[in-house]
Symmetry: C2
């Protein structure tokens, strides 16, 4: 079945339990889907655009109110929506970082942070993790000192993923923020894996910027994201244009340089707004989702030869496991090789494990109810049993 | 009726003929709407993401093929999708323009070009229009010489809107490209008001970059856009990351710095793809749409006191008219002031004229069939007749 031309239909969420690592918390709510249908036309949000002609000031639909709600939700002073978390990293880097500067990221930092720094013609240095793959405040302090000694000036910015994309280990944001501020360096909190699923209090964490991803963790379409900051940094990162046309004398008022004027229009912002009541509710249920994550991981660890590569017990629903000692021993002689495993799961109505992977691989149990959680755990045990691995 | 919480339903395209200046050519096709529904989840496009793990390389759905089609459609060598035309301006500026450089834009250039230049810490200079509000190649050459004399070096880039946002006058892109290249300055073609509605041949125009807006003229959701370039500039604007993690030794392969890695995911890219067969077909019907535009403008000009602020006869479906000598004379004494005019249109099933405006205002007749075209023209005459203006 095709949508148009050669574009296939997709039936994943409709027919399967999906444990894909990055899709789980981005799935749209029914309300978001309705918003996409109604506001699919990009400029549909702009029917009632009035002075000062900036998207985040529009009151019908209540986009301005949503921006205030977002800032409050993150305990920050100001918030803007962006076309994805990476565009928020970019905005902060372009506003704060000069050519030749150094920015610290974690050794488990996401590649988009590297690119945002490169975009600002600056260089990245990594803060190493400790022996249990955690970035500590001490490590941040040490790296700042190292860079300062080398270059005669401290880094322009620290970016730290609260839970990283690779292991979803929890890193010491509070410690890192204290360390950064000791050296007068601002810190950006990458909440791509937290904002929208776990309660986040930017002020309590002590960070200067909070970035979230709509399509990763806020049940919103791609691209969408949020950038929140303190009143201290708002004027810098949300500075308004100073350009004046030399011929026309034109000026562009309140248009913000790093936001490139109006930000997310149409279905993407309206879907974020439509999902927001659900998002605010679901962050309160985070502990329950973590409990379900541990339930599934425990089932995997009950199979001989399996290990958990992520920190354990889990503090997140995204987990990297290693099944080299179990499922991979089957893959070595199975005619479908590593695909036997995803085949077996698919036959049981479970998708999202990387097809063909039987060594280190990731799963994300976010959004499953207890029935589905037990079903997934049992499915892993069943597959193991079928191949004599228990 | 609400979608969720306080988000109202929107019924514009369903119930009215919409002549809003910037909405007309961005309205989704039925196929795009289907794509939004199916691929609304942001990461839904990434089910089959395989090495080298970059969105524009994904073959299922056929995103890679679409990128090739897009480049061919614009007669350029390489194309990428971006979150809006402004993000394409930004990418080119960050890649080509250094701090303190000068970039030429037109005196009728869009504000997002100014912001993109400011983003690169450079400065804008405007090329003046001639006495009939057209930017000529000579004017570009003259401004380049002026800047070069002043600064001892030529501008880093010229950006020119083919049809500008204000009057939708056609500017001399071919002449401007020749002028720019005489001074070894690259030129960016801003096709926000052409790409997707009018056939565009970037090679024939002689430009180095072609930028289009999905939500403005390609029947695609916001944000979406396209950046196409020649093989000469592809390596510069689509350069891949050079960052190396100093602790981990990590590198990120083919991720492109200015694209920030993967670009448009989910419903936005798939809707662009779904609309593309229609877009390819409709650009061939451009002359017919221009004829309809002239039909409506002629009706307005048939009302005593009206003038066409845009060049006339029209070469575009977007037009600025001045009705100070007609409808505005009514507004001066009407109890609804300028709103009488939008009220009258709305009663006739027509929306999109800026509510309250009766002096200079814009309309866009793109997408109307002949029946609707005649109906709109008649409605203007009818309102004029009702108030004794004919």
């Amino acid at each position: 079945m095709k949508i148009a031309g050669n574009i296939p239909i997709r039936e994943v969420e409709e027919n399967f339990i999906n444990i894909q690592p990055i899709q789980a918390a981005g799935r749209l709510t029914a309300e978001a889907m309705k918003a996409l249908i109604v506001y699919g036309d990009g400029y549909s949000t702009c029917d009632q655009c009035r002075k000062p002609f900036r998207l985040d000031k529009i009151t019908k639909p209540p986009i301005a109110e949503f921006h205030n709600d977002l800032a409050r939700f993150l305990s920050m002073d100001e918030a803007r929506v962006t076309p994805g978390a990476r565009r928020a990293f970019q905005a902060v880097c372009l506003a704060l970082v000069n050519k030749g500067d150094t920015v610290l990221v974690s050794a488990l930092g996401h590649y988009t942070e590297f690119l945002a720094v490169e975009n600002a013609k600056a260089t990245v240095r990594e803060v190493p993790t400790n022996d249990v793959n955690i970035v500590t405040g001490d490590a941040v302090a040490q790296k700042i000192e190292e860079v300062t000694r080398e270059q005669g000036k401290s880094p322009a910015l620290v970016m730290l993923d609260h839970f990283d994309y690779s292991l979803a280990n929890e890193h010491d944001v509070v410690g890192a923020a204290k360390a950064a501020h000791q050296y007068d360096t601002p810190i950006l909190y990458n909440g791509a894996y937290t904002v929208g699923i776990k309660p986040i209090d930017g002020k309590a964490l002590g960070v200067d910027f909070v970035v979230g991803s709509g399509h990763k963790s806020m049940a919103s379409p791609a691209p969408s994201g949020v950038l929140a900051t303190t009143s201290e940094y708002a004027d810098t990162v949300f500075s308004t244009t100073q350009m004046i046309g030399d011929v026309t004398g034109r000026q562009f008022g309140v248009k913000e340089v790093q936001m490139l004027g109006c930000t997310l229009m149409g279905g993407n912002i309206l879907a974020m707004m439509a999902s927001f009541p659900t998002v605010k509710r679901r962050v309160q249920e985070w502990d329950e989702y973590v409990a379900k994550s541990n339930y599934v991981v425990d089932a995997l660890l009950g199979i001989t030869g399996n290990t958990c590569v992520s920190e354990y017990p889990r503090k997140h629903t995204l987990t990297k496991v290693d099944t080299t000692g179990s499922f991979d021993t089957v893959a070595r002689t199975h005619k479908r090789r590593g695909f036997f495993f995803s085949d077996e799961l698919k036959q049981r109505g479970i998708v999202g494990a990387f097809a063909g992977a039987t060594r280190a691989w990731k799963l994300n149990t976010y959004g499953l109810n207890w029935g589905q959680t037990r079903y997934v755990a049992d499915a892993f045990k069943e597959v193991a049993g079928k191949y004599g691995l228990l």
